[in-house]
């Protein structure tokens, strides 16, 4: 599949779509093709020309922010690893693993599928990225924690890892340097909470997937108590290109926004669901109408979740908001994973929120009270409202629950994430909730039933 034509076209986009230009979902590039396409140049540069500290400086300077949802600056995250501050050797001492790198590939956020695209489409890019990151934080062991359902990705990653070992990009004395790196693929047993980095670490250790209290942060006490950095697939995938083309190039990709490109996605009631690598900061309108083809026929936009299930609803009034961390936050939501979930006006927002909350209640790890009992309680109330047996008191109880599960009150961000769509839905779609209670039924279903009923009669 790696005919020159394809490669030529791909390489033409290397500087504008660094993350995805080499993606080939049908048959990802094998080691040689990847190298032929310019792969492992970033890693070569890092290992041969940079000390770990210099890589860190470069990445910090690039302004790369985490693409897993929180948008935390990657360089800053790395700089918290104690070994870095103490001894920045030109060649990392390989005798003992001082720290670990973990790639968070547990992509379970509803409406989000960008990492899968990279994992299945260009696995070597991730491996190259992890070599760079591991080298920077003095890690001799790295792990890919992969969502269990991503079995195609698992196959392709394992093949790529094997190739990397064969070609001395992994194992002892990487490319003739003193640096040693072993990379392991771990497929998750499947819990949403494993996307939380400390729960992921616990799961990787074979413990219950429960988030840890911070501090200490994983950079200090992570996997098996050792300094550990957990980065998202997409975040890491930027590294080879930053190494290759420099931080200035990276920043120039999106001059008016957060640096770099972002893989945006759209799903739900749009004409053309999918994902697109675009400069950071395109507007929602551009994404929804230019790329996703606008709403499905006959539907008006009711609302959308900008970055996965755990972000606040935005509505038509926010269409011109740029999709970057700050702008979306100003609009009252979060960029999250940058995957739009779009709701049309013919579908019940209460039902949608109930669906989302059921997911969160199901995926609560059960550690802290607000999340464990609060999400389930919200589901109980929403179920009744949706079924038409809700009361006004239920609405105020839902408000109470939103307050109860908010940030700072829970052990991790799962419950606040669940609150985001619920609270915003109750704000933007208040009348829908009220109608359910007043009419004793879901008006959307009534319409649907009436239509059905008419056809049957």
């Amino acid at each position: 599949m790696t005919d020159n034509h394809w490669l030529e076209a791909a390489l033409a986009q290397a500087l504008t779509k660094p993350l995805t230009h080499l993606v080939n979902l049908e048959q990802p590039l094998d080691f040689n093709s990847y190298v032929h396409a310019g792969g492992y140049m970033g890693a070569t540069k890092a290992l041969r020309e940079f000390t770990p500290k210099e890589v860190l400086a470069l990445v910090s300077d690039s302004g790369l922010k985490g693409r897993g949802g929180a948008g935390f600056p990657t360089g800053m995250k790395w700089s918290c690893v104690p070994a870095l501050q103490e001894k920045p050797p030109a060649h990392v001492n390989t005798e003992q693993g001082n720290s670990y790198l973990i790639c968070n590939g547990d992509e379970m956020e509803p409406g989000t599928f960008k990492d899968r695209y990279l994992l299945e489409g260009v696995p070597h890019q991730l491996i190259e990225a992890m070599i760079i990151a591991s080298y920077t934080i003095s890690a001799n062991k790295a792990f890919i924690f992969l969502r269990g359902e991503y079995h195609v990705a698992a196959q392709r990653l394992q093949q790529a890892i094997d190739e990397a070992y064969e070609n001395n990009w992994l194992g002892a004395k990487v490319q003739g340097t003193d640096y040693q790196l072993d990379l392991y693929l771990h497929t998750s047993a499947g819990r949403y909470i494993c996307g939380e980095e400390t729960a992921l670490i616990n799961a990787l250790e074979g413990k219950r997937a429960i988030p840890r209290a911070k501090p200490p942060f994983p950079q200090v006490s992570g996997l098996f108590g050792k300094p550990t950095v957990v980065n998202n697939v997409e975040t890491l995938s930027n590294l080879p290109h930053i190494l290759k083309h420099g931080s200035e190039w990276f920043k120039a990709l999106s001059p008016h926004s957060d640096p770099g490109t972002k893989i945006y996605a759209a799903c739900g009631q749009v004409k053309n669901p999918g994902l697109w690598e675009l400069p950071m900061g395109v507007t929602i309108r551009e994404l929804l109408y230019d790329h996703a083809g606008g709403m499905q026929d006959g539907l008006q936009l009711k609302g959308l979740l900008p970055g996965g299930a755990s972000t606040d609803f935005l509505t038509a009034e926010h269409l011109d908001t740029p999709m970057d961390f700050d702008s979306i936050a100003k609009a009252g939501s979060r960029l999250g994973t940058g995957g739009l979930i779009v709701l049309g006006d013919q579908h019940c927002p209460v039902a949608m929120v109930l669906n989302l909350l059921s997911f969160f209640a199901q995926e609560s790890c059960g550690w802290c009270t607000p999340c464990r009992d609060g999400t389930a309680w919200a589901v109980e109330i929403l179920t009744r409202i949706e079924a038409g047996s809700g009361t006004d008191a239920d609405l105020s109880q839902l408000d109470e629950l939103c307050d109860f599960m908010w940030l700072g009150k829970t052990h991790c961000a799962l419950a606040p994430g669940a609150v985001e769509p619920l609270k915003s839905a109750m704000r933007y779609f208040k009348t829908d909730f009220e109608q359910h209670i007043e009419q004793g039924c879901c008006s959307y279903k009534k319409v649907a039933q009436n239509q059905l009923g008419a056809s049957y009669e």
Binding site: A213, C365, R372
Partner: protein
């Protein structure tokens, strides 16, 4: 022993008022230390913080001008000088109520039928947050409960998912068969499948659980509310640790034992033997009538006690001369009085010659090495205040989980010292439990263990060897020699590679020396490793005990301690010696050169019978008074010999045993729950226990019977005490320091008597409402108890006004968590502080008088043991040809090793069957395979057990776990030929016996319950008055 160095205090502002808090604990502990009400669930004062329940939220403000603040979990927040928090602010108060509301979505409304009701932390916290009405309308989640054994009940629907149970069972106590399962609001705490909880600490789940998920099954079966219990402060009688307990009684029967906080000893936790073992006082094995004395009309003197008949009967024996045999499970006072009555030349501790020598060695070591409290071992009073925590643990020849389970639990915490130190290195506070365990999960304080049998510590040990008792002694001697040589040459045992060669030289030396010792290479490796670790350690802890009955071992350990303690080594070793029974160390006080061994008692009795030419003094001894003594170490045959040579045998005991069967007169004395006195624990700490109720006569406290005997048998007119206080005054007047000590210790406390009953008893006309509603004149009050510190009433000083708290309670805190309201600060000493009341063990008699003779020679002179260790007891070996000699090691589980608690039917039901364990070689020699039924012949008695193989066992050791074997056989030599394969008939009989043991225990359990419940309904009011004679 308490540390005067107080932890640094800083000032924080709570609702704008300044408070002093400890800098090294979290905010929640600081708030609670100031006796402010802040609810919590998942945090535990001893187990630290994990931040799960979110109940202890407060608002933190930046400064005086910050009015919004942000919410924090106080248990997860370190205190900072000047920090400002809000406790009563609307936001955090509302959130705390919301947490309860959320927990209540699944908590059933079954408080009226829940065993926890009335002392439920969840109830308290619910009220504290003001949550009074339910908003949740949905269905509640339900679970299937599990059978967790005889001791702990399980009702998962009540669970509020605080994770305390699993944190205690797994993390704190090291249990492996209990865990947390599932997720979201379906989290389940239990076992993988139904089955008996394996940990000897499972009963703590009852106290650790903030609500009624885990309940005390024995208490639930014969249940009463906490507020209806009459309680007393007691001391556990089931091992030498002396854990402080609170015994609860109602309608004349003991209902339960709860932990009684003692900062220095048990802290918040008991072992299950201590918690449940007390049930023996309710079983049918109790002696409730005087045996051997007839009344005028020829009836046995049962039921009421009639002093006239008693005195008359005693007068018949007044011409005889008595030897008194005390015991290590009787109170200190009982032993003292008995010794006074018979005189020191006629007093025996019930020890054999061998045991006398052992006891003296024990006494000598105690005098030399002050024993640390459990808190001292765990470094609880010192953490963070400069002193060194133990950095190595060496356990020698004592299976702690059998003989002193609570101490074993403390050792498990000592093993965390290294992890805590590691946590220090990244600034993780010790109370951040999850963070410490995450960061330092692989770090454990070095542990070495030299044992005869597998123990629960083997997994954690850097080195663990199983050897015969004799070889353990040799190992200790060799270790001392190695260390001595190293220290002498100033060559600390090599640590690095370059010194490996030295090692080899040493190794070859050892190889040569080991030829004679026949210790294999494993042992050499172990020794090298241990010697290296010891020379690196700065505060090693050595733990041993008397289980192996080896005076040689104690003396070898003495040498080891001496070597380690040498000033120049900068090592501060500590030695802990586990004593055999609850008052063994108290007995050491009475151990003088005049004390008689059992052999000497027998000799005297025999000489009276066989020869009239014996010396006057000896010929006078004709009879025995035996106080709460089993003489379990000697065989039935020998007991009969003893019996046949004494004119009369008067036994004072509370439960049936072999001696009560043989005695002429049996006087039923009160068990620990019905009597007062002191036990002296392994540290030689005199600890007082008080009766929870007064038993119905003729059961009386041991000293009361001894006072009667003083009149009737011994013509000691001066012994006429009607209270223990008078007894103390008497001995104080005689210049006995301990008595003065006890008196001053008591006097330091307030004068008003302390209540045993709860406030609810103010409605005392209703206390007997099942029969009559009328004023029962101060329940159980009689003239004897007027001088006691505690009253059988709710009137008087509060139960918590003394460190000996009958029960724990504080306004708004009805559960055991109320204890935090009575500590000086969280985890600190009690507000009415306690200090150890150490007994001075005087050794002058042995060292000062005849300095020319070595101690061992002197001991051999006093209590000759030349016939070898098995002179009296284990004449068990049938032949003396030592060709195939093996050593028996007692290996009963923790619930069957102590004679009193063994009588609890529930413990019998927990026993999985007799077993004998040995190596493959030995099994082959016996002609047995694993799983066969083996026959063990001891003293013409046959015992049957399933044969197990354990490759790790030493080739000269056989572990026996045989229920019926009530002789103390630890470290007895037998011929291997005494173990054979049982034939088919014998195996069938054995299977039948095992079944019938279970059936008997089940019946005993059921019958006891029926009897107690009947007693609840029919207990005559007159009995309560306890003046039996007037109602004849």
């Amino acid at each position: 022993m308490s540390d005067n160095k107080k932890p640094a205090k800083i000032t924080i502002f709570i609702d704008d008022n300044p408070y002093q808090v400890s800098a090294d604990n979290n905010l929640l502990a600081g708030v609670l230390s100031n006796k402010l009400n802040l609810p919590y669930f998942c945090w535990h004062p001893s187990m630290g913080s994990v931040g799960a329940c979110r109940q202890c939220a407060v608002t933190q403000y930046q400064d005086e001008n910050d009015t919004r603040g942000r919410m924090i979990m106080s248990c997860m927040t370190p205190v900072i000088d000047g920090m400002r928090i809000g406790l009563t602010d609307k936001a955090s108060a509302k959130f705390r109520e919301q947490v309860i509301a959320a927990m209540m979505t699944n908590h059933p409304h079954d408080c009226p039928v829940c065993a926890e009701g009335g002392e439920c932390h969840l109830q308290d916290m619910t009220v504290m947050t003001g949550h009074t009405s339910r908003q949740y309308c949905g269905e509640k989640r339900t679970f299937t409960n599990q059978y967790l054994g005889e001791l702990v009940g399980h009702e998962m629907n009540r669970c509020i998912t605080c994770y305390r149970c699993v944190r205690f069972y797994k993390d704190y106590a090291g249990g492996k068969d209990f865990d947390v399962f599932g997720s979201r609001n379906q989290v389940y705490f239990g076992r993988q499948k139904d089955g008996v909880l394996e940990s000897p600490f499972s009963g703590n789940l009852v106290e650790v659980c903030p609500t009624g998920v885990f309940t005390n099954k024995l208490f639930s079966a014969h249940y009463t509310r906490k507020w209806d219990l009459q309680s007393s402060p007691s001391i556990c009688a089931h091992c030498s640790v002396g854990c402080n307990t609170s015994i609860g009684e109602r309608y004349g029967s003991v209902r339960r034992v709860m932990n009684r906080y003692n900062h220095d000893l048990n802290g918040y936790f008991l072992c299950d033997r201590g918690r449940y073992g007390i049930g023996f006082v309710n079983t049918s094995s109790r002696i409730r009538a005087i045996k051997g004395i007839k009344t005028k009309v020829g009836e046995p003197l049962a039921g009421m006690f009639n002093e006239k008949s008693f005195s008359k009967a005693m007068a018949e024996h007044s011409g005889e001369n008595f030897i008194g045999i005390g015991s290590a499970r009787a109170s200190f006072e009982g032993n003292r009085l008995l010794k006074y009555l018979v005189g020191r030349e006629n007093f025996s501790l019930g020890y054999t010659n061998e045991e006398m020598q052992l006891a003296l060695r024990h006494k000598q070591l105690l005098a030399q090495y002050p024993q640390q409290s459990l808190a001292g071992m765990e470094n609880l009073s010192r953490r963070g205040h400069g002193e060194l925590p133990h950095d190595l643990v060496l356990i020698i020849g004592e299976n702690l989980e059998q003989t002193a389970p609570r101490l074993a639990l403390s050792i498990k915490q000592v093993l965390r010292n290294a992890a805590l130190d590691k946590a220090d290195s990244i600034g993780v506070k010790h109370w951040q439990d999850a963070a410490v365990r995450t960061y330092a999960s692989d770090t454990s304080t070095p542990l070495f263990s030299l044992q005869t049998q597998n123990t629960s510590f083997d997994d954690m040990a850097n080195g663990a060897l199983l050897l015969s008792p004799e070889k353990i002694t040799t190992m200790v001697e060799r270790l001392t020699k190695m260390l001595h040589d190293d220290f002498a040459h100033d060559t600390v045992v090599p640590l690095n590679k370059q010194a490996a060669e030295d090692n080899q030289v040493r190794q070859s030396k050892l190889d040569k020396s080991s030829e004679s010792h026949h210790v294999d290479k494993n042992a050499d490796k172990f020794l090298l490793l241990l010697a290296r670790a010891l020379s690196q350690a700065s505060a090693p802890l050595i733990v041993t005990g008397l289980s192996l009955k080896s005076a040689a071992l104690l003396s070898a350990i003495d040498d080891l301690m001496a070597c380690l303690s040498h000033k120049s080594h900068r090592i501060a070793p500590e030695l802990t010696i586990v004593a055999p029974e609850c008052n063994s160390v108290g007995n050491l006080h009475f151990l003088t050169e005049y004390s008689l061994s059992i052999e000497q008692v027998l000799t005297r009795l025999v000489s009276v019978n066989s020869s009239k030419e014996a010396s006057k003094e000896v010929s006078q001894a004709t009879s025995l008074v035996i106080l709460e003594q089993d003489l379990a170490q000697i065989s039935t045959e020998q007991l009969n010999l003893l019996r046949s040579h004494c004119k009369s045998m008067i036994v004072l005991d509370h439960s049936e045993n072999k001696l009560t069967q043989l005695a002429d007169i049996v006087l039923p004395v009160a068990a620990v729950s019905e009597s007062g006195g002191h036990f002296v624990n392994y540290q030689s700490n005199l600890q007082a226990f008080y009766p929870a109720h007064i038993a119905i006569k003729p059961i009386m406290e041991n000293w009361q019977y001894l006072v009667l005997l003083a009149k009737g048998l011994f013509a000691h007119a001066e012994i006429n005490f009607t209270s223990l206080k008078q007894l103390y005054s008497f001995f104080a007047k005689h210049g006995e320091p301990w008595a003065l000590q006890v008196l001053t210790y008591d006097e330091s406390k307030q004068q008003q008597r302390i209540v045993r009953q709860t406030h609810r008893a103010s409605g005392r006309t209703a206390m007997m409402a099942n029969q009559s509603v009328h004023e029962v004149q101060t329940y159980f009050e009689d003239k004897n108890s007027k001088e006691e510190m505690f009253s059988y009433s709710m009137e008087g000083a509060s139960a918590t006004s003394n460190h000996n708290m009958p029960f724990t309670w504080a306004p708004a805190w009805n559960s055991n968590q109320a204890i935090l309201q009575h500590q000086q600060e969280v985890n600190g000493e009690l507000a009415h502080s306690q200090h150890e009341n150490l007994l001075n063990l005087n050794l002058s008699a042995f060292f000062d008088e005849t300095p020319s003779i070595s101690l061992s020679d002197k001991l051999e002179q006093l209590w000759p043991n030349q016939l070898g260790p098995n002179q009296l007891c284990p004449n068990i070996a049938q032949q003396t040809s030592q060709n195939h000699a093996v050593v028996l090691i007692q290996n009963l589980p923790w619930f069957l090793v102590e004679q009193q608690s063994k009588k609890l039917p529930e413990f019998t039901l927990m026993f999985t069957g007799n077993s004998i364990t040995m190596s493959t070689d030995l099994a082959e020699q016996c002609g047995c395979n694993a799983g066969d039924i083996a026959k063990l012949v001891l003293n013409k008695q046959h015992f049957f057990a399933q044969l197990n193989i354990d490759e790790k066992l030493s080739d000269d050791v056989v572990l026996v776990s045989v229920f019926e074997l009530d002789m103390a056989v630890n470290n007895c030599q037998i011929e291997l030929a005494q173990i054979t394969k049982a034939n088919q008939d014998e195996a069938a009989t054995h299977a039948q016996a095992e079944k019938s043991r279970i059936a008997t225990a089940s019946k005993e359990k059921a019958d006891t319950l029926v009897r107690l419940k009947a007693q609840d309904q029919t207990i005559p009011i007159s009995f309560l008055n306890n003046e039996g004679e007037q109602y004849d």
